[in-house]
């Protein structure tokens, strides 16, 4: 097993403040990028601050490996007066995921922005992107329920603007962004109402303190109402079925940079917060949380995995297929979590990491081709395998992982999910995973068939190979997809450590 110590290297002054610097780095980067004179500078700042965030996340990983949990009090004020950042193995997993995907997306953005966003808006786009990154990193490291809302909205407001920036290519990005803004704000407001109920019942906003006091309250109506509001609110943000209506449009019309970033991190971060509340605040041992997971979360997740895969199989537009597939894959993750055992949660987190990796690969491949190519539908991509073999080979790797073909990351995580559901005696989940995988074969197969086995219609616009600046991060991601399928010790150790930190020693 590879441990976190292997990565650990930073001066002690930086390590001591790594939780704050993780968020502050991209935040300052956002301000500087907004003021920078041209697109090139903004890009360099964007790459620099996301790589800094990766470094800080690695420092934190080292600290968590040594201490177990890192508590950082903002400004030195301990709770209940101040805001505390609380980072355990699960928080580190998310921080590493968000920062590394954002670094890959920032590298990619050098080429992508020229093609997809108005040149006058490049600096602001990078600033918005860094705000988004800062918000998500804050969301996964804070231990304060209201602070989490602020970070959630910092990242979301950035996301609305960035999705709308897709208008240069396709004006449908504007209604999609508006729709997402409405849905996202309703979700965030529901979350605030839920936190208000919890605050009224417990008198604190610190998640660890809320958890300690909720136990003593027993069967409190107010706590249950708060729970319902929080789950629905975060479910909207995480595109949990059936609250995913905003997602396909937002993914299909946004700049390709946002596809990569959103699918791999934004919905996952909201999911992380929901999991924190489910397992960390409302003990799954308590009746209503247990019933919710067994009778609502599990069946909805199963329905997502099947229904959205069917929708994906009937979509015509390339990126909408991938978007519906994302909702289905979130279903897998929730399926694992709804079982409520540590092994199942670790399988869910492994799938979360694997899905982030493969969706980033797929969207980057599609985006890389789309830099000089305006095709959107499956028919437009006919023959792309011949015109852009390297890019489309990476796409095929990601698609193989999505289906769950052995020797890819997606196979292993699905295998672990099946193992966990068999161990819990939930046979129907195995059936759901099998059906959904067959459907994945159908929709991924349709895409691959169009790319590799069909020839382009005469006179149609042809795809072009992605530039080297896109191919390098793309193949790094695709390489990880394969590597983690052969030797998954790194993601598995991270996922198991995260699940153990979340469940706190429960079976």
């Amino acid at each position: 097993m590879i441990t976190f110590e292997a990565f650990y290297a930073a001066p002690p002054a930086l390590t001591a403040h790594a939780p704050a610097l993780l968020v502050v780095g991209p935040l300052i980067g956002a301000c500087v990028a907004a003021l920078s004179p041209n697109s090139r500078w903004a890009w360099m700042i964007s790459v620099g601050s996301t790589i800094f965030a990766v470094w800080m996340a690695l420092c934190l990983a080292g600290e968590v490996a040594r201490q177990g949990v890192v508590n950082y009090y903002m400004g030195g004020f301990a709770p209940p007066l101040g805001i505390a950042f609380r980072i355990d193995a699960l928080g580190v997993m998310m921080a590493l995921l968000v920062s590394s995907v954002s670094a890959a997306a920032a590298l990619y953005s050098g080429h992508a922005l020229d093609a997809e966003v108005r040149s006058s808006k490049h600096t602001l786009f990078q600033a918005g992107f860094l705000l988004c990154v800062a918000g998500l990193l804050g969301l996964v490291s804070t231990g304060d329920a209201f602070n989490a809302f602020v970070f959630l909205e910092v990242s979301s407001i950035g996301t609305y603007a960035l999705i709308a920036a897709g208008e240069r290519r396709d004006r449908r990005a504007l209604p999609a962004a508006f729709n997402y803004l409405i849905m996202g704000t309703i979700g965030a407001t529901f979350y605030v109402i839920g936190v208000g109920f919890l605050y009224a019942a417990t008198g604190t906003l610190n998640m660890a303190d809320i958890a300690a006091r909720v136990v003593t309250l027993g069967d409190s109506r107010m706590v249950q109402a708060g729970f319902a509001f929080i789950v629905v609110g975060l479910g909207l943000k995480a595109a949990m079925f059936p609250l995913h209506g905003w997602l396909p449009g937002a993914y299909a019309h946004a700049p390709s940079l946002m596809n990569i970033f959103l699918s791999a991190t934004a919905t996952k971060a909201a999911l992380y917060l929901m999991v924190r509340f489910l397992f960390g605040v409302f003990e799954p041992g308590s009746d209503f949380a247990y019933h919710f997971m067994a009778w609502v979360l599990g069946p909805l997740a199963g329905a997502a995995a099947v229904i959205c895969s069917i929708q994906a199989a009937f979509e015509k537009e390339f990126r909408r297929v991938l978007a519906f597939s994302s909702v289905a894959q979130v279903g897998y993750i929730l399926l694992g979590l709804s079982i409520g055992t540590t092994a199942a949660a670790s399988a869910g987190f492994l799938h979360l990491l694997a899905h982030a990796l493969m969706k980033a690969t797929l969207f980057m491949a599609v985006g890389g081709v789309a830099l000089h190519f305006r095709g959107r539908t499956l028919d437009d991509f006919a023959g792309a395998g011949r015109d852009a073999p390297w890019t489309m080979a990476a796409f095929a790797t990601g698609a193989a992982s999505l289906i769950g073909i052995p020797l890819t990351a997606g196979f292993l995580s699905k295998w672990r999910l099946i193992e966990a559901s068999l161990a819990a005696g939930q046979i129907w989940m195995v059936v759901v995973i099998a059906i959904s995988s067959l459907l994945a074969l159908a929709y991924a197969g349709r895409m691959l068939e169009a790319i590799f086995f069909r020839t382009a219609a005469p006179g149609a616009e042809r795809a072009k190979e992605a530039p080297l600046g896109v191919l390098v991060p793309l193949w790094i991601l695709a390489g990880f997809c394969v590597w983690f399928g052969i030797d998954a010790s790194l993601p598995e150790s991270i996922a198991i450590a995260g699940a153990q930190a979340l469940m706190g020693g429960r079976p």
């Binding site: 809302f149 609305y160 240069r168 962004a177 508006f178 409405i182 309703i186 407001t189």
Partner: protein, 151 residues
């Protein structure tokens, strides 16, 4: 009936909240939808602030007990409360929800600004701010397999 009267602040919050949501979902006009969203968000502000209010409590600014103001407050609070809450006899409302909602208001204003900015761009790109008309325009283009960039 008395339950409604003692919880009238929650009644007001629920009415505002549902009113906001209804406006949001019932109209296709983008500006009206933003108004509904703003009302919806404001209702949470009222919810938090009424949570923090302690009956008979004053603003959470420490008062000097011997000052004229402090004396007046102590007199208004009455002997019973002075006996219960100490020499100063002044009860403070909980300031934390107010501070929280100040933050939430800022977030709400930012959301409103972004939303209205997108509505302005929509008007420039489509020439309308009615959701139905925008969808109709998109349907025509999608059927023809075309993509229209914004101006």
């Amino acid at each position: 009936m008395s339950a409604v009267l003692t919880h009238f602040n929650y009644v007001a919050v629920i009415v505002l909240m549902m009113g906001g949501l209804y406006i949001l979902l019932s109209t296709g006009n983008l500006v009206r939808r933003m108004i509904g969203l703003a009302i919806f968000q404001t209702s949470t502000g009222l919810f938090y602030i009424s949570l923090g209010k302690v009956s008979g409590g004053t603003a959470a600014i420490t008062l000097d007990a011997v000052s004229a103001e402090g004396q007046a407050l102590a007199a208004r609070a009455g002997a019973e409360q002075v006996a219960r809450y100490g020499v100063e006899g002044v009860i403070y409302s909980n300031p934390l929800p107010h501070v929280l909602i100040l933050t939430a208001i800022v977030v709400g204003v930012a959301t409103l600004a972004v939303g209205l900015a997108i509505a302005v761009r929509l008007r420039e790109a489509y020439g309308t701010i009615e959701t139905d008309e925008i969808q109709a325009l998109d349907r025509v283009l999608t059927a023809a397999g075309q993509v229209e960039p914004a101006p």
